[in-house]
C-alpha cells in the first residue's frame, strides 16, 4: 500500500490543543438543535404540562372529592358548563377532575412499565449482539421472535387476562410483552458495531467484557433507545387505555381514561362529553410523546 500524501503523523499532533467539549456545552448544543423544530418543543411542553398536572393534581383539580367513589345524582350527566368544564358523568362527578387524576395512572402505566423493562431488554440485546452466533444469542433472539410473533396488543391483553385485573398487573403485562422490542433494537446496533476497530482494540487491550458492552458499545445505542422509548411511552399508554377500556386495567372507583371512555360509549350520542373528553385526553398525551419522540430522534440523528 502506498502511503497517503496527506497523512497526518499522529505523533506530531498536540493532543492538548484538541478542543474538548464539556457536558454542559453538549447539552446546550443538543437543546439548540431540538428547539429548531417548533413542533417537538410543543410536544415537550405538552408532556411537561400533563406531568405537572398529574403530580400536583391536588392544587389544580376543581373538585378533589369527585375523584373517588362519590355519587351526586342531582348533578348527573350535566353538559359542559363553567362549573364543570367537561361536564359530569353518570354519577354526577366532574369529568375534568377525573381526567386530571387519571393522567397519573396513564403516565405511570406507560412510563413505568417501559422504564422497568428497558434494562432487561437492553442487556439481553447487548448479550445477544456481542455473542452473536453463539447459543446464548440464538436462544435470546428466538425467544424474542416468539414474543414478537403476536401483535403486542393481543399479547398484552392475553397476559393480563389470566391475572386478576389491577393496575400493577396491567403494567406487568405491558412489561412482559414489550421487552423483545428493545432486545431486537439493541441487538441490531450491537451486531453492526461489533466489528468496528475501536471495539476490536478494546478487546486486544484486554478490556473487561462489561466495560466493552457498557462503555464502548452501549453509547451507540443510547440515541435510538431514547427515541424509541419516548415513542413507546405513548404506545404503552394506549395499551394501558385499551386494557382499562375492556376492564382489565385500573379498577373503579379510581378513574382511568380508558374506563371513562368505555362508560361514556353507552351514553352516546346525547351525553357525548362523557366519552369524547377522556378520548381527547388520551390523544393529547400520546400526541405529546409522539412529537417529543420525533424531535429527540431528529436531534440525535443530526447531532453527528
Amino acid at each position: 500500500m502506498e502511503s497517503c500524501p496527506n497523512k497526518i503523523d499522529i505523533s506530531q499532533v498536540d493532543v492538548s490543543r484538541i478542543p474538548r467539549r464539556n457536558a454542559g456545552e453538549n447539552i446546550r448544543k443538543l437543546w439548540y438543535k431540538f428547539s429548531l423544530n417548533r413542533v417537538s418543543v410543543v410536544g415537550l411542553a405538552l408532556i411537561l404540562l400533563i406531568a405537572a398536572a398529574a403530580i400536583f393534581y391536588r392544587s389544580i383539580v376543581p373538585y378533589p372529592e369527585h375523584i373517588g367513589a362519590m355519587v351526586d345524582f342531582k348533578n348527573a350527566c350535566m353538559p359542559p358548563s363553567w362549573q364543570h368544564l367537561c361536564g359530569t358523568d353518570q354519577a354526577g362527578r366532574d369529568i375534568l377532575s377525573r381526567i386530571i387524576y387519571a393522567f397519573r395512572g396513564a403516565l405511570t402505566m406507560g412510563v413505568v412499565a417501559i422504564l422497568a423493562i428497558l434494562p432487561l431488554g437492553g442487556v439481553l440485546g447487548l448479550v445477544a449482539g456481542y455473542w452473536n452466533g453463539r447459543f446464548v444469542s440464538n436462544l435470546i433472539m428466538r425467544v424474542a421472535d416468539v414474543f414478537l410473533s403476536l401483535p403486542t396488543l393481543i399479547l398484552v391483553m392475553c397476559v393480563s387476562s389470566i391475572m386478576t385485573p389491577s393496575t400493577r398487573n396491567a403494567m406487568l403485562a405491558i412489561s412482559i410483552s414489550w421487552w423483545p422490542w428493545y432486545t431486537r433494537l439493541v441487538y441490531g446496533i450491537v451486531t453492526s458495531t461489533r466489528n468496528e476497530v475501536y471495539i476490536r482494540s478494546a478487546e486486544v487491550l484486554g478490556a473487561n467484557v462489561w466495560h466493552i458492552l457498557l462503555k464502548e458499545i452501549l453509547p451507540n445505542a443510547l440515541g435510538p433507545i431514547l427515541t424509541k422509548m419516548t415513542l413507546d411511552f405513548g404506545v404503552a399508554i394506549l395499551a394501558g387505555a385499551t386494557l382499562s377500556f375492556v376492564g382489565m386495567g385500573e379498577q373503579p372507583p379510581a378513574p382511568s381514561l380508558g374506563a371513562m371512555v368505555s362508560a361514556g360509549v353507552g351514553y352516546l350520542p346525547d351525553q357525548w362529553w362523557m366519552a369524547v373528553f377522556p378520548a381527547l385526553a388520551i390523544m393529547l398525551i400520546v400526541l405529546g410523546f409522539n412529537l417529543l419522540g420525533d424531535g429527540i430522534g431528529d436531534m440525535l440523528s443530526d447531532a453527528e
Binding site: R142, V143, D145, V146, F147, S149, L150, P151, T152, L153, I154, M157, C158, V159, S161, I162, G234, L238, A241, T242, F245, V246, G247, M248, V261, G264, V265, L268, P269, W272, A275, V276, A279, I282, M283, V286, L287, N290, L291
Partner: protein, 338 residues
C-alpha cells in the same frame, strides 16, 4: 432462492413451535387447576378428577404439553367454557368474519396509503403535504377504538348513513356459506342487495381499523419516495420531459415500495390485534370479539386457541411478505440466486 425460502419456512415453523410452548405455559400452566377452571367452582370433585385424567393433567408438565400439542395438530382445541361447543367449530364460524373485515381494511390501507403517500410527495413541503402529515399524526396518536367511538357518533347518530352493528341487517337472510365471506357469498348467489348490505356493515369498522395503518404507510411511502426523488434517474426523467404523474406512479413508486410493503404487511397482520375492540364496539361477530369475550370470562382454552390462530396468521403474513419482497426487489432476487 428456493433454498432461502425453505430456510425461512423452517425458522418460522420453529417460532410457531416456540409460540405453542409460550401459549401452553401462559394459559395452561400459570392459571393453575385447568380442570377446575373448565368445570366451574361448583362441579363435584369426582367429575373434576375424571376430567383431569382425561386431559392428562395428572401427568408431568412436558407430557401434558405433548398431549396438548398432539390434540391441536389433530384439530382438537378443546371445548369452550362459555359456548359449550368445540372451539374448532367456534373458530370456523367466527374467523371468516374477521378475515373479511381485515381484507377490506387491508385494501383501504394499501390504496389510501399509496395515494396519500404519492400526493404528499408530489406536493412535498406544500399545504397538501402538511394536511396529510397532520392526518397521519391523528392516525398514530389515537387507537382504533377511539376512532370507532368517534366514527359511530358521526356516521350513525349525527349523519345516520351507515349501520352500527352486526354483519347484515335484521330481516336479510345470511347467505349460503361457501367461503364464509358474506360479500363474496352473496355475489356468488347473485344477491346484489345482500352484498351491498354486508358491505355497508363492513365499511365503518374497516375504515376505523385501517386508519392507523393508512397513516403509517402513507408516511413510509412518502419518506422513501422523497429520498428516491433526489436520485439522478428521477432528475433525468424530468429532464426528458416525462409528465410528473407518470414519473411518480410509474418510475418512482416501484423502487419505493419495498419498505412500504414490509411495514404495511406488518400493519395488516397487526389489524388482527386492533380488531379486538373495534369488533366488540361494532358488535361484529368476528374472531377478535370471540377472543375478547373469552379473555374477560377467563375461558382459557378459547384464549389459547385464539392466540394460536392469531400467531399462525401473523407468522404466515411475515413469510408471504418476505417472499413477495424478495421477488419484487431485483437486488435481493439476483443476489440470493448465486
Amino acid at each position: 432462492m428456493i433454498l432461502k425460502i425453505l430456510k425461512r419456512v423452517v425458522s418460522y415453523l420453529l417460532v410457531l413451535l416456540g409460540l405453542s410452548v409460550f401459549v401452553f405455559i401462559l394459559v395452561r400452566v400459570m392459571p393453575g387447576d385447568t380442570a377446575r377452571l373448565a368445570l366451574g367452582p361448583r362441579a363435584p370433585e369426582e367429575t373434576v378428577q375424571a376430567l383431569r385424567r382425561e386431559m392428562h393433567l395428572d401427568k408431568s408438565i412436558p407430557v401434558q404439553y405433548y398431549y396438548w400439542l398432539k390434540g391441536i395438530l389433530q384439530g382438537d382445541l378443546g371445548t369452550s367454557v362459555i359456548s359449550k361447543r368445540p372451539i374448532t367449530e367456534d373458530i370456523a364460524f367466527y374467523l371468516p368474519a374477521t378475515v373479511e373485515l381485515a381484507l377490506l381494511s387491508a385494501i383501504f390501507m394499501a390504496t389510501f396509503g399509496i395515494l396519500l403517500g404519492v400526493t404528499a410527495t408530489k406536493y412535498s413541503e406544500k399545504w397538501p403535504d402538511a394536511i396529510i402529515r397532520v392526518l397521519s399524526y391523528l392516525g398514530i396518536v389515537a387507537p382504533a377504538f377511539l376512532w370507532a367511538v368517534l366514527a359511530m357518533l358521526l356516521f350513525a347518530y349525527l349523519i345516520p348513513i351507515l349501520p352500527v352493528s352486526g354483519r347484515i341487517s335484521a330481516g336479510i337472510a345470511p347467505p349460503v356459506t361457501r367461503t364464509g365471506l358474506y360479500i363474496v357469498d352473496y355475489l356468488l348467489q347473485g344477491n346484489f342487495a345482500g352484498a351491498w348490505d354486508a358491505f355497508r356493515h363492513l365499511v365503518m369498522p374497516a375504515i376505523v381499523l385501517s386508519f392507523g395503518g393508512i397513516s403509517q404507510s402513507a408516511r413510509i411511502c412518502r419518506a422513501s419516495m422523497v429520498s428516491n426523488m433526489e436520485k439522478p434517474y428521477a432528475a433525468a426523467e424530468r429532464a426528458y420531459g416525462i409528465p410528473e404523474n407518470k414519473i411518480l406512479y410509474k418510475y418512482l413508486l416501484k423502487p419505493s415500495l419495498n419498505s412500504f410493503i414490509s411495514v404495511t404487511a406488518l400493519d395488516i397482520a397487526m389489524l388482527f390485534g386492533g380488531a379486538y375492540l373495534v369488533e366488540s364496539i361494532f358488535n361484529y361477530p368476528g374472531l377478535s370479539r370471540y377472543g375478547l369475550t373469552a379473555m374477560l370470562n377467563k375461558d382459557v382454552f378459547a384464549v389459547s386457541a385464539v392466540m394460536l390462530v392469531d400467531g399462525v396468521i401473523v407468522i404466515g403474513f411475515n413469510l408471504v411478505t418476505d417472499i413477495i419482497i424478495s421477488f419484487l426487489d431485483p437486488r435481493i432476487r439476483y443476489s440470493s440466486s448465486t
